[in-house]
Every structure is written in C-alpha cells, then in structure tokens.
Amino acid sequence: MIDSYDVVVVGAGHAGCEAAVGAAKLGAKVLMVTMDMTRTAQLSCNPAMGGVAKGQILREIDALGGYSAIVADKSAIQFRMLNRSKGPAMWSPRTQNDRSMFNNIWRLMLEQTPNVDFWQDMVNALIVENGKIKGVKTGLGIEISCKSVIVSSGTFLNGLIHIGDKQMGGGRSGEKASYGMTEQLEEFGFQSGRMKTGTPPRVDGRSLDYSVMEEQEGDEEPGKFSFSDDTSPLSKQRSCHITYTNSTVHDILREGFDRSPMFNGTIQSIGPRYCPSIEDKIHRFADRNRHQVFVEPEGWETVEVYVNGFSTSLPEEIQFKAIREIKGFEKAKIFRPGYAIEYDYFPPTQLKYTLETKLVDGLYFAGQINGTTGYEEAGCQGLMAGINAALKIQEKEPFILSRDEAYIGVLIDDLITKGTEEPYRMFTSRAEYRILLRQDNADERLSRKAHEMGLVDENRIRNLDSKLEGKQKLQSFLEKESAVPDEINPILEEKNTSKLNQKVKLISLVNRPELQLNDIIDGSESFKDFIDRENINKEQIQLFEIESKYAGYIEKEKEMADKMKRLENIKIPGNIDYNKLSSLSAEAAEKMTNIKPETLSQASRISGVSPADISVLLVHLGR
C-alpha cells in the first residue's frame, strides 16, 4: 500500500522533474510516477540545452530555484553564448550535453531533494470525484490518493512511432506508450488533439571523417547557466562539426517519398515548422541544393553522435543510403534510424494561469501535453505547475508571472490565451518586452520572489545584492571621476571616436557606441584602481554597461509594460456571463466564454476581442 501524497507527478521528463522540485521545495509531499526511472529527464532529442530564447528560459528556471540549469552546467561538454554580435537582450547561452550524465545528475538531485518519492509504474487513470482530483490508478492496479496531480506525459499518450511504412506503438524509441488517460479525460469533457515530432538517426562517431567537416568549437571564455555557486564554467570542451547534404542525398531521399508517412497521408497531425524533417526541407525548398547538418557528440566518452538537421521518418534503408552520401559520412555506421512520433495533447486554452485545468480541480498539465516542444519550455511549465499545486494545497495565492517579467510568463499567457496549432516553441520575438527579459537579469527579475516563497536560499539573494551594489558603485564612481585626455585619447583614437580636449566625467564616455566599458578601463588608471580595489567583476561591469547604454530603450519598454499593467490589475470574476453583456460583439462573447480570461489584459490579447469590447468590459467591471 502506498501512502497518500500532496502531489503526484505523472511522467519524469523535464516538466515532471521540475514539477517535483517546485512542489517539494515548498514542502509538499511529492510522488513521481514514471514507467522507467533510468530515463529520468531523458534528453530524447538533441543532447543540448538552451539556445536563442530557450537559454533565457533556463536562466529563469534557475532564478526560480529549478534544477535544469544546474544539471545542464554539470553535464555540459561545450558552452557557447549565441548572438554575441547582437544586443544584450539577444545573448543566448547554449550547451552541448553529455546525455547520460544529464539524466544521472537529474536523478541524483531529485533523490537528494527532501519530500520526493518515486514509484515505477504506468498511470492509466485518474480518480476524480465531484470535479476534484482524488488520486491516480496505475497499470499494476494500485490506487494512490493525493490532493493534486500534475500530468507531464510528453509524447507517451497514445504515442505512435513511424519509420517509413512501419508503425509501432511507443512513447520513445524502445519504450512503451501510455494508454487510457486521454479517453478518460475526454469523458470528463476535455478536448484532445494529435501532434507530431521527429528525431534524426544516431551514428557511430568512429565511422565519421571529421577532417572534411567544419569544426565548431565552444567559446574561448565559456560561461554557464546557473546563477548559483554550485556550478562553474567548463575548463575543457568538445567540439561539434558542421557538414552539408547535397543533391545526391536529396535524390536518394526522394526515392522514399511515396513511403514517407508525412507525404502519403499516414501522419495527419501537425509538426513543428521550425524543426522540419529533412524530407520536408527538400520538398518545400526544392531549389536549395544543400542543407546544414550539425554533428553533435552525445557525451564526453561515448562514440554516439547525433545528426542534427537530419530528422526523418523515411524507411530506414533510405535513411542509411542517403546519410552515407553526406560529406564525411561515407563510411557511417548507424546505431538507430530516425523516426516520427505522434502523440496526444490537450489544447492549452483549457488551462488557468497556474496550469491547473479549468475542468478538474487539482489537475495540472505541463509540457508537451500542452502542445509545446522543447526541454526548456517543458521544464518551466513543470516548475510553475509544481509551485502552484503546492501553493494551492497550502491555500496561498497563486504564483503567476506576467509577460514583462519572464519568458515563462509569455509562454503560459500565449498558451492559455491563444492556444497553439503546432508544437509551440519559444522565440524572442514572442516577447513584446524583449529588452527587459534578458538572460543577464533573470535573477534580478525573479529571485527575490522565489526567495520569499522558499524556492532559493539566502546565497542567491546575497549574490544578487552584490551584483546590484557593484552596478551602483560603478555609477557613482564614473559620475564623480574624470577622464584624463592624455590617458584616454590613444584609446579613443584607436576606436575611431572623437578625442577629448579637456577633462570630462567618465560617465559621459559610457554611451559612445564605439566604446565598451573595458576600453574606458584601459584608458583610465584611476578606473583600473577602482575596479581592483572594489573587486568589481565581469557580471557587474556587464550589467552596468547594458543598463546605461540602452537606458532609453529599457525605459520605453518599461513604460509600455506599465500601461499594460493597469489592465493586468483588473481581474475578471470567473462567474461573469458574457452573453448577458449585450454591448459585447458576439464573437468577443463567444471567445471569452471559452477562454475565461482572468484579467482585462488577458482578454485584450484574445483574437477577436476589440478595444471597444475591452471598454465595454471595463465599464461593467471597472471603478
């Protein structure tokens, strides 16, 4: 007999693991149920974390006390800061990771987290009474009672794998699918749909000729994801390689098109447009005679290699024949073919901001079940669901992030307000306040809130305080101290910016676009002394520089965000009957009845709701 729990997490992927951490850190008793504990936090697709927009999310997860960033740092084999040449809002950390280290470390960290228990089994039904969750039933016929359930089923619900014309039930290569829950949820009144994703073949690194590929090294000065002192930057790194397909490869792949489940109608569901299969790329962009292929090592020791950019569900013999025509792959030995997988998801407009379902009290969804794709997108939803499940049990206010606070806020608001037709991936362009949501200030945005709830310890706040203090010290010093023309002019000349004729305050040089703060440090002895004396570090310099150089843009976005905030603060009661508000347009009434927006601001983002409809609502709710 298994004890009763506060929170049962169904599925131990990225969403499930973060959900367990979030709930357990707030003191909830958590049980993780997974079909195979050795696959905890499995990197099912590419062995990499972060990237553009996703790296920002990882930093946010870390600032909120989730573990994904720490695990990514500890299992990293390469670190790169993408978009360095762009503005600071675009800088995006990314790592290549050792796949098996990644799931081992995650499992270890969960095992060391108080309040988290494990049970290896398949949940195939929920126990619901009077619209409230009471527990789960497993494949072994065991009933576990609990106050809330977080379902993070990934690709496992009615998962169906396709390789050419072969089909097999499964949640991942070599793993069983999960059955029963979708049908039960539909009986409760949930709407469900199907989505599709895919993965490329894995090959034997010993059989590749790297000498004909381009090498892609890690950063010379690698950074890291976590704001904590628990991890440190890599001291050695492994390289990736880049090669290209060619028209021979494309011709061979085309031979299999009639047996492609994507093209012959076997797969109807929608896949992610930004993660197309190689056959899709050839088909849609027929005039391109080559496509990039990233050759990514799966770890420090292993010879297994991930062929990024070559996702496919063509028959395996076609895959093998085509891959050997890629430059450097002539003698490639294949470990396993790529495949496509279809799975069930539940349109996320059925959720509240807390990721609790509107239909069943105490039931939460996180990750691919909500129509998203990506480890980071899944992880942050899990964390938010876990935190909110615990808060609700403790009868505390929910924890909701707004669109100007975090990418996590953008993601959840998009999902529950607009839904998604294809697997939802985060892009920086989805955030209207992108300049506020930088990777460098995720701690400033979120860690105090996290600390108040008990999600991060005192150390994080001390680190944050000292970072902000450093910024302040720099400001006061530069306002007070003058630049000496003789010292700084050689630097100014070198950087092609006008020289000084007389002493000016150092601060007046900061906003020259040609100059970086480090140049000014080089051109001022007293500044150099100050940096040494006060122990000013890289992060502090960076933060100061960003916030002074881009102050105008930051202010502008803050102003816009504040405007939106006013509507954010006007809550819409759950029992409002839109059909009785005769002044609303019919479309607006219908959409809002369906979405049940929680604030006026959310209502304004529903497509089909006009500014006049918002004014009408304001009149009815306002004052």
């Binding site: 590419n46 762009k86 809002a89 447009r273 990039q292 990024n308 004052r623």
Partner: protein, 461 residues
C-alpha cells in the same frame, strides 16, 4: 484607472455635417498644455477653471481660425479630467486642421465612447448608467468601423495591403537574424535593410500625402480670388454663392467675420479663402493686387486672378503671371485668369487683345454673364488633377493618424540602422510601426511574422 496616467484624447464633439460652429473636445492630463501650444491668446496654463477665452489657432504663425476656448479643470469637468472645449467655425476643413494640430502636439484620437467611458470611470456618472455607457461605446465603435470599412475601398485597401506586406517582410528580416542567427540562411545586410525601409517609407508617404489631397476633395477645394480693388471680386463671389445659396454653408450671422465661404459646384466643394478680406472696402495701394495672394497661396489649390478688361493691359497681365509663376508651381496650385466687366466692351475686341492667354474667361459678374462657365472651369481644373481620378486615397483621419505614426516609427528604425544599433533595438521601432499599421489592418501578430519567416526561409534543424 487613475486619470493621471491616461493619454490625452481629442475628437469632434459636435456633429460631423457642415455647421456654423463646431466644438472640439480635448480631455486628459495634457489637455490644457497641448491646446495652449497652438492657441494664441491668453496663456491657458494660467487661467481659472470654467472660463472662456477668445483667441486664434495658428499653424506656424499662419492663421487657421478664430476660436473660443472653454477651460474646465479636473475633477470638475465632464470626464473628471482637465477638459478643453474649443469652439471653431464649422467648416470641415478647419475642424480637421485643428484636430490634426492637436494630434501633432501629442493628443490622440479618442476611441469610441472614450469621453463617456472616462467620465464613468472617474465617477462622474452613476453605476446605473453602466449599461447605457456600454451601449454607447459599442454603437460608436460599430459606426466608426463601418465608416472605416467604407473608406477601405478598392485602391486604398490594396495599397494598405501592399504596405502591410512590405512591413511584415521587413520585420521578418529583422526577426530572422535575431531568432534564427544559427540558421544557414542569408541575412540581409544593413544597406539592403535601409533600402527596404525606404521602400516601405515611400509607400506610407504616398498614402499620407493622399490624405491631404483626399481632404481637399472632402473638405473643399481652397480657392483664392485675387486682383486689384474694384476688379469685381466681391461681386463675383456673391454671384457664385447666390447661385448655390441652398447648399452653401456660410458662417455669416455669427458674431465674428466670415473667414471662408463654401459653395458646392457640380458636386465639388469649393472653399473661398479670406472672403472677409475681399468684402472689406478699404483701398489697397498695391498696384496689381497679388501681394495678399502670395501670402495665401500656400493654402490654395486654385488662384482666380480677376481684372477689369476696361482698365487692364496684356502686359500688366504678363507681369502678374510672372509674379505668381514660381509660388504657384511650388505649391502645385493652378491659376485661372478672369477678365471682368465684359458688358462694357465688345467681347471679340477684348478676345483679340488677349489672344495670347488661352485659358482666360471673360465674364460680367454684375450681369451674371459667363459665371456658370467660370464655375465649370473651376470644376474642370480639379478633375483634371490626376489625384482626383484615383481612388487610392486616405480619407479617414484615424487612418491618417495611424499611418503617420507608423511612418514616424519607421523613421526611428531608419535612424537606428544608420547609427549602427543592433537589430533587437531596431525591432522595437518596427514593432511600434506594425502596431500602428495594425490599427487599420487588424493587429499583426508574432505568428504573422513567424509564418512569413517559415514560408520564406528554410529554418530548422
């Protein structure tokens, strides 16, 4: 919602048809300040609440109208905010001009029912009136939507569509290099981006310019009648206005002098500028009577130059034409020569005398001889303008406001490109631009941009 954080809004508070007097209402924290910047008279920042002031509205020192300004300071006003009610002459042209000036100085057009909404939010109305306020908002919104849709006809709609498409393409290129920098696609370089932005700017400018032309047709073609004293200007004007008395909106009868008169000739509204000046009987010392015209030529589409065929000579007429040539071409205005008092002469003789002047019309204003011919000529002059035959025209002032703001954001983006700032900052201006254009076309979302990127570029690993 606290009133201090609100924008300042303005709109016509009286009816939109021709009227003797119109009232424009301005409400919000900057109502007094904005109004004061275009008002010449007392310093409105210093006057008491609930007072009325006479003065003039000026655009760069050019007189637009004489007005009465009523000042109501919040909370004792209709909306509860600072409110200005500006009474001006009822000509649609003047109304539009004043509203545009207010927009240029930081106000924005009020949304449907927004004054009443603010009044309600600021507790100037009873809760029991909520339903009525909501109804007002939705009916006004529907009406303005209908109007906007009517104005989105044919050519305009397709030009706006083109502008939208170009702007989305541009925004996509910017977002592409931000979100997909790792992809194996070709990114646009700075000079390409600059060319593109200029292309979009040109499209926007074309539409914005068309508003001015559109307004000419909608609000009346401005005509200046020039000539020496006693050439018969006043008589001619009275003839034209008398003929059309039934549909003329003359503002005589108010306490102030008429600044303009309007007449509808063959369905086209003509506005005769500074008719008060024409009616004044004082002697002018200037020889050929063009000096005043030169001052008004900027606002005129047609200049009617009148002379007395009994006392004038062709060589003086040549001097007149020479004098007016440059300013006319600078402003794209047309000149119509009118010889008056033909009743005292033999028409054939006069015609022979002035044979070098093709398009001259000979009339007798007093006897109403050939005045109709002159009217037709005025209409012809307008219809031969290429713009009037095209329907690619912005006629809705909200559309104009949105386009102007969209274009201003574009120019910020261009400035950013020129100073070498990175794409993420340029994108903030582009987003602003998309937002304003979205007020005409329906909002443009990230999904529109992403859709455009995915269909045009091979993205993804």
């Amino acid at each position: 919602m606290h009133s201090n954080t609100e924008d300042t809004i303005c709109a016509l508070a009286s009816g939109s048809g021709p009227a003797a007097i119109s009232v424009i209402r301005i409400s919000g924290p900057k109502a007094i300040e904005i109004c004061n910047t275009i008002f010449k008279g007392k310093d409105l920042n210093k006057v008491d609440s609930h007072t009325i002031h006479f003065g003039t509205i000026r655009e760069d020192d050019v007189l637009v109208d004489e007005v009465l300004v009523s000042v109501f300071k919040g909370p004792n006003s209709y909306t509860g905010e600072d409110v200005i009610e500006l009474s001006c002459h009822g000509s649609p042209y003047i109304r539009q001009k004043i509203i545009n000036l207010l927009l240029d100085h930081g106000a924005r057009s009020a949304n449907a029912g927004e004054f009443t909404l603010r009044a309600f939010m600021n507790k100037k109305m009873d809760l029991s009136q909520a339903e009525a306020v909501a109804d007002l908002i939705s009916s006004e919104s529907e009406a303005s939507h209908k109007l906007a849709m009517q104005q989105m006809r044919g050519g305009f709609s397709s030009e706006i569509g083109k502008l939208r498409e170009e702007l989305i393409n541009f925004a996509s290129l910017i977002e592409l290099e931000l979100d997909f920098s790792e992809e194996d696609v070709e990114f646009a370089d700075r000079s390409e981006l600059k060319d593109l932005i200029l292309k979009v700017h040109k499209l926007a400018q074309g539409l914005i310019e068309s508003f001015k032309v559109g307004n000419v047709l909608k609000n009346g073609v401005p005509v200046v009648i020039a000539g020496k004293p006693n050439a018969g200007k006043s008589t001619l004007l009275n003839q034209i206005l008398k003929e059309e008395r039934a549909i003329v909106s003359s503002v005589e009868g108010t306490t102030r002098d008429t600044i303009e008169d309007e007449a509808v000739l063959n369905g086209v509204i003509f506005r005769f500028i500074d008719t008060a000046g024409i009616r004044e009987t004082q002697d002018e010392v200037e020889a050929i009577g063009v000096k005043k015209t030169l001052e008004q030529i900027e606002t005129a589409a047609i200049v009617v130059y009148m002379f007395d065929v009994n006392t004038f000579t062709p060589s003086t007429l040549r001097d007149v034409i020479k004098e007016l040539e440059e300013p006319l071409s600078r402003n794209g205005a047309k000149l119509l020569l009118v010889g008056n008092k033909i009743d005292q002469q033999d028409e054939e003789t006069v015609r022979a005398q002035y044979k070098d002047f093709d398009d001259m019309i000979l009339i007798s204003a007093k006897d109403n001889q050939n005045v109709e011919k002159l009217s037709n000529k005025l209409v012809d002059l307008i219809e031969t303008q290429e713009v009037s035959s095209s329907d690619v025209m912005v006629t809705n002032s909200r559309h104009y406001e949105a386009l102007t703001k969209a274009d201003a954001s574009l120019m910020n983006a261009l400035k950013g490109l020129e100073t070498g700032i990175t794409g993420d900052f340029i994108a903030t201006d582009i987003r602003q631009s998309l937002h304003y254009l979205g007020e005409i076309t329906g909002q443009i979302t990230t999904d529109d941009l992403l859709g455009n990127i995915f269909s045009n570029f091979c993205i993804g690993k």
